[in-house]
């Protein structure tokens, strides 16, 4: 595979990963935390409901997992497509 087409494949893989991550990012914050909160109101979490937990703590924990997952995945992709810095 030429360098150019390998770079393009790397970039599309990256875009797919970003899109998937941002969908989760939006679902936990704007979704579970705000818009979908009424749907989760039946699930009790310590004196309130799951939507309240996502708005105050859960979304932050998911954001953390997303960033570390993305960094780990991308550093692997760098090696796979031979586009790393070394």
């Amino acid at each position: 595979m030429s360098e150019k087409s390998s770079d393009n494949a790397y970039w599309s893989a990256n875009l797919r990963l970003i899109l998937g991550s941002l969908i989760i990012w939006a679902i936990v914050s704007f979704g579970f935390g705000i818009l979908l909160r009424p749907m989760l109101s039946g699930i009790a979490v310590g004196g309130s409901d799951l939507g309240f937990w996502f708005a105050q703590q859960g979304s932050i924990l998911v954001f953390l997992c997303l960033i570390f997952f993305y960094a780990w995945r991308m550093n692997k992709l760098d090696a796979e497509y031979g586009v790393g810095e070394e």
Partner: protein, 594 residues
């Protein structure tokens, strides 16, 4: 020992530490001044970025806003952390690969236009300056309270300290100073929270205590809190009352603004490799999350403590007596804070008791008529004093109170220093070297950076003495501007082939529309009574001026695409630049020249 002496000891010792580190790590060359020679480990960088990011707004103000509003102010928690996802996925690794020092350099090169670079510099300077004014106001209030001097004297002392380590240290000094500040700040925030969580829930981790059981009643803490605040006529703590559209837009504005603030983005230029830039964003959020997961617990538990102090025998019994407030040591904090003018009470009906309730609620008005109350008697409780007063409210040892004083100052000072660095590099590197005098020597550039910093401190201190509005309004403007101008330009520069004209038109449209919308609601240049609308009844439906940054960003994207489509496509070499930014291969250390 007197509380004042203890505060002085803690604040003095922490400052000696920061200044000592700044002197030890003095920057020698231009590259060290801006980017610490790129020798900063991702974890260290993450810690410094966290200190840089968490300002007086996060440390002093946020938990107080959550305490008195509850769920509706979750926007701050999600918004100020969610922005790091955007930063890590959409900006940080690519800007590090590009390998220059400043955000406006990227915009200037990518959009092959010195006009684009100029517009970006203007956006950066305006956003950073407005933000730093808010910080200096916070510095003045905190110094004034803890050193027991006037607000003006506190502000001037604070300005001298910021000047000392920002001007002489540069980025390297600031990086290590900020690591120390992070440690002071996080200890100061979590230690009182741990004490309070143990008192109320028996759980040593405040974030878990929030969802645990209230020891005194055996009920879940949040359920108990909902019950007692509704009994006093206040809105249920955990329920959703805010306008949903405005809440979504406000959260989004804070997120985009976070990813568009120059002093945060600049941090990712200082890691050795592209892969480190990805990790570094994650580490930053780890250190921020330690405070942000604790903040909602601090807010809810403080609300609980305050309500119980005002109704010591329960909300259905007698309110606290004036005599008890004046004599009981548990109420000493009220007298202390009354002196600042930020806390006040008044026995309106002369019954010798202070009734704290929501006098706007119909139900409570009926009850008040029955009981002979003549309105809420806890007449003033400034939201911004909550975190600083919290250890006193919970009756914690005096060393904890001193630690909180040092932490609040660390938060305000570290952000002010980071912003000043962003302003000084925009002026010396982008304006002077990039535009007016490209042949300036390294020494001359360093000197002009330091002069720019001194001027920025002077301006911010002056405006901090006569603030254009409340700190929160000033900070909201900074976020709105960064969201509407910088973030879209950076994102389009990496992910699309938008051309120079598109970028310039987009940035100008986003900036101007957002600025006008804010001025229409807050007054032109924040001059009181020059506003046409107010946030209680905004121009566009329910969209408040603080939430408009997200709309400004959408306008920026739309205008940029339309203009770009109808003008010439980008040249071949820029197409190659965009492609090279997208892959880490060949990332080199940054160069000061181009």
């Amino acid at each position: 020992m007197d509380q004042f002496v203890i505060n002085l000891l803690f604040v003095g010792a922490s400052f000696a530490l920061y200044i000592g580190i700044a002197i030890w790590a003095r920057a020698g060359s231009t590259s060290e001044f801006y980017a610490a020679g790129r020798g900063v480990h991702p974890v260290t960088n993450g810690m410094a970025t966290a200190a840089d990011w968490m300002s007086a707004a996060s440390f002093i103000s946020m938990a107080g806003l959550i305490a008195f509003t509850g769920y509706d102010n979750s926007s701050f928690l999600m918004g100020w952390t969610g922005g790091y996802v955007l930063l890590a996925l959409l900006l940080a690794p690519y800007l590090r690969k590009f390998g220059k020092y400043t955000v406006s350099e990227f915009i200037g090169d990518r959009f092959y236009s010195s006009t684009a670079r100029m517009v970006a510099v203007i956006c950066l300077i305006v956003a950073s300056t407005t933000y730093v004014i808010g910080q200096m106001t916070g510095v003045g209030v905190a110094f004034g309270r803890f050193l027991e001097v006037s607000n003006t004297a506190g502000l001037l002392i604070g300005a001298c300290v910021v000047f000392a380590y920002a001007v002489f240290g540069g980025m390297k000094g600031v990086t290590y100073t900020q690591v120390a500040q992070y440690c002071v700040l996080i200890l100061a925030y979590t230690i009182p929270a741990i004490f309070i969580s143990l008192q109320l829930t028996g759980n040593p981790i405040p974030a878990l205590g929030l969802f645990g059981d209230h020891v005194a009643s055996g009920e879940p803490l949040l359920a108990k809190l909902d019950q007692i605040v509704t009994e006093l006529g206040f809105a249920e703590y955990t329920a959703h009352h805010a306008d949903t559209l405005n809440m979504v837009l406000f959260t989004l504005s804070l997120m985009i603004g976070t990813a568009g603030l120059p002093h945060v983005i600049m941090r990712f230029f200082t890691v050795p490799k592209v892969s480190d830039a990805r990790w570094s964003a994650g580490w930053t959020l780890v250190f921020i999350a330690l405070l942000y997961l604790t903040a909602p617990a601090v807010g809810a538990m403080a609300r609980m403590n305050i309500t119980e102090l005002m109704w010591p025998e329960g909300t259905n019994s007698q309110a606290v007596s004036v005599e008890q407030i004046e004599n009981d040591p548990a109420y000493e904090w009220m007298a202390t804070w009354q002196k600042t003018g930020l806390l006040g009470w008044e026995d309106k009906n002369g019954d010798g008791r202070i009734q704290y309730y929501n006098d706007a609620s119909d139900e409570m008005q009926a009850k008040a008529a029955e009981e002979g109350w003549e309105g809420n008697e806890l007449t003033n409780f400034n939201r911004d004093i909550l975190v600083l007063a919290n250890p006193e409210i919970a009756n914690l040892p005096s060393w904890v109170i001193g630690l909180v004083a040092a932490g609040g100052l660390a938060a305000a000072l570290s952000t002010a220093a980071g912003l000043l660095l962003a302003i000084s590099s925009a002026v010396s590197h982008d304006l002077i070297k990039g535009q007016f005098n490209p042949n300036i020597s390294e020494k001359g550039e360093l000197l002009s950076a330091r002069i720019a910093m001194a001027v920025a401190i002077a301006v911010a201190t002056y405006l901090g003495l006569n603030p254009p509005g409340f700190a929160a309004q000033t900070v909201a403007l900074a976020f709105g501007l960064a969201a509407a101008s910088i973030f879209p330009a950076l994102m389009m520069g990496i992910f699309t082939k938008v051309n120079n004209k598109g970028a310039v038109a987009g940035m100008l449209a986003g900036l101007i529309v957002t600025l006008v919308y804010i001025f229409l609601h807050k007054g032109w240049f924040f001059i009181p009574d020059t506003n046409t609308f107010s946030d209680a009844d905004p121009l566009l439906g329910t969209i408040k001026s603080t939430s408009f940054g997200a709309i400004g960003a959408m306008i920026n994207f739309a205008v940029a695409f339309l203009v770009s489509k109808s003008t010439d496509p980008i040249p071949q070499e820029i197409e190659e630049l965009v492609e090279s930014v997208r892959v880490p291969r060949g990332a080199a250390a940054a160069t000061a020249d181009h």
